[in-house]
């Protein structure tokens, strides 16, 4: 079994705001995160599999790169997570929820069995991993 990790970076804005709560209550719960702010996210995508006996590759990294461009970069890079994507109407754009959304997208997009894990860095000091099928 081989694991391959490819990293991409994207920049996005977001705010923590629940529509069912008042402005004051949002601010009390989420502090400075209620204001629109942004992060340079780093996403490490790990796939697993056996190398093809002919090509010697688990998958073509160019294909993986194209897939990440299409499925992640085009959706999230230089976008607002709340207003430019449909994923955070009912949940907060926390790193946990963003990682879960990306994991779901990639499990769907990758050939069966390839997904191993993702690691999403919000910044140098905080990251989320989603592991397993």
């Amino acid at each position: 079994m081989i694991r391959i990790t490819r990293a991409i970076e994207f920049s996005a804005s977001l705010r923590y705001r629940r529509a069912d709560l008042s402005e004051e209550e949002n601010r009390r719960r989420f502090g400075r995160r209620v204001s629109r702010h942004g992060h340079n996210y780093r996403l490490e995508v790990t796939v697993r599999g056996e190398p093809d006996p002919v090509t010697g590759m688990v998958l073509d990294l160019k294909d993986l790169n194209d897939l990440l461009e299409r499925e992640v970069m085009s959706r999230f890079d230089h976008r607002d997570l709340n207003d430019d994507t449909p994923h955070f109407e009912k949940r907060l754009p926390s790193p946990e929820n963003l990682a879960a959304v990306i994991a779901e997208i990639l499990r769907e997009a990758l050939a069966p069995g390839l997904f191993d894990r993702i690691r999403l860095y919000q910044d140098r000091d905080l990251w989320v991993e989603v592991v397993g099928p």
Binding site: R91, E96, L126, G132
Partner: protein
């Protein structure tokens, strides 16, 4: 499984010396780390937590809450201190291995009470060239 990891730092001194062994044996085992007056590191500490994502907050654990626990249980205790003087290292030599075990013990107990949320592992980054994990790997 979903995990969240937060990174901290503390600067601490230690001497690697096993009192039950002779000076010659300590020198042989620990080399320059046995220097009697000590030496120090900027330790990196990575704390990995797992559990359900709370739908109200979008979080496994509020980062501020985790920070408070780690500051209170570990950083205030170890930062700018001589680890050999800490009661946690009276029996155990303060190697990075034993620091990882001690930090895990300090934190694991403090996280109880939150439904399903638990400490998965800690990583002690002693220098840019070596790190030590204790707990469950994923």
């Amino acid at each position: 499984m979903i995990t969240v990891t937060r990174r901290y730092e503390f600067a601490a001194a230690h001497v690697l010396r096993q009192p039950s062994l002779s000076d010659a044996d300590n020198q042989r085992i620990y080399g320059k780390c046995a220097n009697a007056n000590g030496h120090g590191h900027n330790y990196g500490l990575e704390v990995t937590i797992t559990g359900p994502v709370n739908p109200d907050t979008g979080r496994i654990i509020e980062p501020e809450h985790l920070d408070e626990i780690v500051h209170h249980r570990v950083l205030e205790r170890f930062d700018h201190r001589m680890l050999n003087e800490d009661s946690l290292f009276q029996e155990a030599v303060p190697t990075a291995e034993n620091i990882a075990v001690a930090v895990h013990r300090q934190l694991a107990g403090s996280l109880t009470g939150q439904a399903g949320v638990r400490l998965l592992r800690v990583r002690i980054v002693e220098t840019g060239r070596n790190h030590f994990d204790y707990g469950e790997m994923t």
